[in-house]
Structures are given as structure tokens and as C-alpha cells.
Symmetry: C2
Subunit: 426 residues, 2 copies
Amino acid sequence: MSQHEVRVAVLGAGTVGSQVIRLLGERAEDFAQRSGARLTLVGIGDRKVDAPRPDYIDRSLLTTDLTALATSADLVVELIGGIEPARTLVLAALNSGASVVTANKALLATHGPELFEAAAAADTDLYYEAAVAGAVPIVYALRESLAGDTVTRVLGIVNGTTNFILDEMATKGVGFDEALATAQQLGYAEADPTADVDGLDAAAKAALLASLAFHTRVSIADVSVEGVRAITAADIAQAAESGYALKLLAICDRLDDGVSVRVRPTLLPLSHPLASVHGVFNAVVVEAEAAGRLMFYGRGAGGSAAASAVLSDVVAAASHKAHGGHAPRESAYAALRVLGPEEVRTALSVRLKVADEVGVLAGVAGVFAGNGISIESVRQSPANGDSTITIVSHVARLGDLMRTVEELRASASVHEILSVTAVETH
Amino acid sequence: MSQHEVRVAVLGAGTVGSQVIRLLGERAEDFAQRSGARLTLVGIGDRKVDAPRPDYIDRSLLTTDLTALATSADLVVELIGGIEPARTLVLAALNSGASVVTANKALLATHGPELFEAAAAADTDLYYEAAVAGAVPIVYALRESLAGDTVTRVLGIVNGTTNFILDEMATKGVGFDEALATAQQLGYAEADPTADVDGLDAAAKAALLASLAFHTRVSIADVSVEGVRAITAADIAQAAESGYALKLLAICDRLDDGVSVRVRPTLLPLSHPLASVHGVFNAVVVEAEAAGRLMFYGRGAGGSAAASAVLSDVVAAASHKAHGGHAPRESAYAALRVLGPEEVRTALSVRLKVADEVGVLAGVAGVFAGNGISIESVRQSPANGDSTITIVSHVARLGDLMRTVEELRASASVHEILSVTAVETH
């Protein structure tokens, strides 16, 4: 066995950090075999030195001086989350020559390029498998397994909290507030659920996925986002009646004129592989020119799923520290144009309450046509004098679609816009 | 861009080889960016120099001297298949310091340890993503993405030909011979389908999966195999009636007393994620202690799916050639015991035609009990004087189960053994 030693620091001893620390101890022999190096935990950085800790945490390793710790190890595991001080600490660690493993999607989706450049300049590694889809190895897949192919599309359920909420609404018929409360009781949603339910967490992951898949710089600010807060039990019931599941999807497309990245509640045919992803599970579909359609599925959240991903990154980074080499560099060499929110492409399903009069459908269809949008299907069902029309458009620019919706809203014969949802038809 | 050059030789210019050669040309710029090295095709080794070739194959690169080519390149792509001369050529390439990328599951499942040792001794790479499940990156997942976790189980549909045949039988109600003929017409099965239908191809892949997952040397000779030749339309109809799909599964288990590796037609509840894998698709479920259950799904066969996997390996190996480092070494450090065919564990479903007499069920149950096998469920349905009993056992040693079946066959009150099939109950 190897005599190499890699000195590991863990910043942040919360749920995931504690699991990582426990497994670093319990599986030391395995990790030494797999990385060819002995992993020595040299410090645990956490502000709350006096907090109660499980027995497997050696209190003598705890320190509040995170900067000193981050710059004195060979390998730094950053599990603090948030932008600062995480950004400063990760940069300091990389600049000192340490490899960094992080689960911090917000940091990477905002400051990724700066951090990847620092890693390359210091000839060290920056790994972040746990930042996207928990234990599902989608970062590896895009960065390494598909390096010989051309990815055209990535679409996924990458936020377990909202998938649980939508699933709860679908199976129990409850409203958003009740489903959110259940998610909070079960520990699947935080007290402040904003990042999850407003789609920001998924948007950060979409930015990372698109950057990797298309070798193009995509930041969270480039992502067109809509969360699930406005979804009603009626929307979901209506979707099920029409043979669809309603899911919060992150969709990254490589189009002729650029890269389209969006996060949006989306109707999926029940036969689509992502339609049967339930509860807090995550799944990502990748479409590549030669490989065709691939799917990756697993637990997207939870301390042990994240710890699994973090520790796999630790083994890879430790192996490089001991034996040379590095992970493929994140490179935005393709530098494709990133489409703005108006230009993003999607198909839309619009459900309207209209007057039950002659010519109304022609008028509604005319609004679509006037904005250059062709229609995939129309369904009309009369109810109490009013009539409900559901129109599914072909794929079009989001700006044109939204303008269409606003014109419909202003139209005298449209009494109410019942719902506006993205649709994937295959 | 980098000035590194990696000289690539392709041995075998069949379906996959031609795709690889085409894409090496078309995507040269992409591959240079991703690997940090220019990939130069220096030779194409094929016995049939005079065969007609597509335009993108530069005939001046063709040679029949495979040994000279294999030992004069930086990176050798072996797509000849079979044991010899592939083994000798791969060894010669590795010994000369070249990295090797192969899709040859039979070679690896038979001579893997010798080849991995040669790669380690020469400090070079041996990659083989395309050898298991085509474009599905399961080798990467087990070798790298799950390096920080402990895998307890791998089960998968890893042979597209037999999955297509069983699917065809299930959806069209046709018999094995007709389904095989259709598979042959569509190019999904070869003229001699032995390796596929007798489970040997799946067994080679199971050996590779188990070796990777459990860090233990498992060769194809260790795998308990049964193919699909004996499956009847009635077996599949009966399975469907009971809420099961019948699939040829490769199952690798890490048990307290060793590693159990088997390939066998297996009843799966329709709710199991693998039950809905249709046609020539492949899918692999991995269960790991921290990550929980992961699934990987995609096209298992076809020139372009295999080419995708081969080229990703080429990019990784080229990057190491240019910039140092190597893939994680295949190590059998865990050296777990590999259970023999008698010791392999499974649950079994046995369908019997018995005399419709008092005491028959007690007698049948007694045979199970006498062999130390407990029963999960029994179903009895009378038909024309005879009666059909379906018994599902708990998980037990295969040797004990088979002895039980033989005793039942010899029993006077058992008129016929209708079927004996493995079952996964969760």
C-alpha cells in the first residue's frame, strides 16, 4: 500500500459534513486503496465550536479559523454553502495549491469561471459532483463519460423538494401550501423554501449542467426561471386528465442560434421516463448525437447521498494529489451564444375561459398566428355558458409566447387565463 | 490550444471502428479542446485491406500488420473482438507503453487481471466503457463516480438482443424462435446468436461489473449462467398475469460470505424500474450504502452508441498521455470470496402441474422444507383434474433450490414442472 498522505480539511460540519467526517474515518482503508493515498483529516472548520457533536467527531480538530485551515491542507471540502465566505475560502484554498471539493451550486453558478481559472492556474482540482442531483453522477457523466460525444440536450428533475411537493399535490389532491407544509414537516423543505419553490436552486444546477454540456459559460443569471408557487391542485388534476404529469424541469438545449436554458413547471406525457420520477428523487436525461438518449436516476438530496458524491470526488482529487494528473479542465471553448429570456424556446399550453360564442376560437387562434406561433393542438369544452379552451403551441420564442398570452388576457372574449404551462411533447 | 500530439491506431474497421474513425476526423477540434492534445490517426489495422470502405476512411492508413501498428502508436483502440489475436495485440500495445481503449468484454472477462497488470506496470491506461452496456457510462460510474461509496448490489439488463427477444415475445405473444428470427432480420441478433441467447455476453459483462463494484477478481467462469432459449410464450404470459415482467438479468450481490454473480431469466414486479426497459435498451441499477439506489439507462448496442463510449475513453486516455495521470487502477484489493454456482443466492418461482388430491400441497411444501428452503408465497389453481401450483421461495442457495426442483420432479404427485424462474421481489 501507498505511503502517500493527503491532508484533508472539512469546512462546515453540518449534516453532510458530519457524514463525510464519519465515513472518512470508517472507510479509511478503502479510500487508501482506491486513491493510492492515506487521507488524514487535519481539521474541521466550523463557527460553532461548542455545538453538541456526534462521538465520531474529534473535537480537537475543530477550529473557527477557516482561512488558516483552508490554506494549510492538501484537499479542502467546502460544505458551508452560500456565496461568502465560501468564495473567498475556496479561492484561498485553490491559490494555496489545495484541491477543492464542494457541494455549493450557488457559488459555482455565480462565480464558476473565476474558480475554475484559479484551479487551472494552480494546477489543482475543483470537484462538485454533489452540487447537482446529489448522488446521481451527472457531473462525471457530462465532464468525462460523454467527452467523446456531442450533447444536444439535458433535461432533468434536479430539485427534490419541488418534485416532492408536486407529487404530493398529484397523489393527494392537496394544494401547494399544504404540500409545502408536509415537505417542511418531513425535513424535505427548509423553513424559508424560497430557493427551492421559486426555482433558484434548479436554475443554479441548470447553469452548471448547460456549462458542462455545451462547453459554454452559462451563469444563473442567464437562466429563464419560473417556480412552482403558482401551481394549483386544479392545474395538476387538469394535467392528469390530459395524460400529462406536471414537473419542475430544468431544460438545456443546444440550438442553431445558441444555448437555451430554462427552469419551468412543464407538462410531460406520462410515457416520458421523467414522468415517473417521484418524491425527492432526481433524474437527468441527456441526449447526445452518438449515444442517443441516456438517463441517470437516484436520490437527489439527503446527507448520505451528498456525502457519497463528495467522497467520490475526494478519492479522485486525492489520487491526483498523490499520483499526478487532474480532472478535465472546465473550458468554455465552444463559447456558444446564450439566449436571453425572451429568446429561450419552449412549447406552451394555455388554458383559457372564453365566452361560448361563434368566432371566439378563430379570434384566439388569430392571436397566436399574429405573433408567428403555430398551434399543435386545440381542445374546447363547454361549461356553464363559458367554454374552456386548451391550446398547445409548437416550440417558439418565449418572448413571442408571453406576448401572445398578454394579448389574450386583454381580449374581450377571453374571460380568464386559467393556466400557462410549458409542455414537452416527446 | 495545446501542441501535444497523441498518435492513435484503430484495430478493426467494422461498424464501430468506422464510426470511431469518422468521428475522429469530424470532431478533431472538439477532441483537441477536451483532451488538450491533437489526436492524429496513424493507422487502421484490418485484415481486409481490399474491402469496400466509406469515403472518410483514408485507405493509405490501412495495414494488415496489426502488431507493428499496435506497438507504434500512443493510443490503441482495439475493436477486433474475440480472445486472440486481440489479447496478444493489447498486451503488446500496453507493454510498448501505449494506452488501450477496447470494447472487448470477452477478453476482459477472461484475461482482465493480466491486462490490467500490464497497464499498471507500463504506467498507462486500459479503458473499456463500451464493453458494458454500450453508451451507458456504467464503468465510469463504478470505477470513479462511486469511489467514495460501498456498492452492495448491481443488477442490470446488459444484453439488448435478449431484451428485444423477450419484449417481442411479451408484446406480440410469439415464441422464442419467431422473436429470434425478427431480431436477426432487424440486425439485433447475429446469425449465430449463441453468445447472446445463452447468456454468455451478459455473463462476461456481469463479471466486469462485479469486479469493479466489489474490488474483487471475478471472471466469466465464476458466473452462474442460464440463457433465454428455454423461455416459452406461456412463461411470459403467465408472468404478466401474475404482475411480473420476465427479463434476462445480470445480478451481482455483495453478501456476508462472498460475492454472488449470476445471469438468469428473472421475474421482476412491474413496478421495478428495470421492468419498463424495453427493446434493445440497457439499464443498470446500482445500490450503494450511502448513495442508495441509482439507475443508468441508455442504448446498449449499435455502432454509434459504442463509438460514443469508445471516443470518451479515447479523450480521457489522450488527456493522460498529454498531461500525466491515469485512470483509477483496477484493483482486486478487497479479494472477497466468489461464491460457486451452488452457493449463488436467488429466490425461485416454481410452477408445477400436480394431481388434484388431498395432501399434495403439503407434500410439495415438505420438499422445500426438507431442503431448508422457506416459502414466500403459494398459489394453486385447479384445471381439468390436474392442478397448477406456483411456489415462490425466499432467497436461498441455488444448489439447495435445484435439489428441491429435482426432488419435486421425481415425486409421484408432481406430473410436470412447468417452469423454474428466478424472482426479484423488490
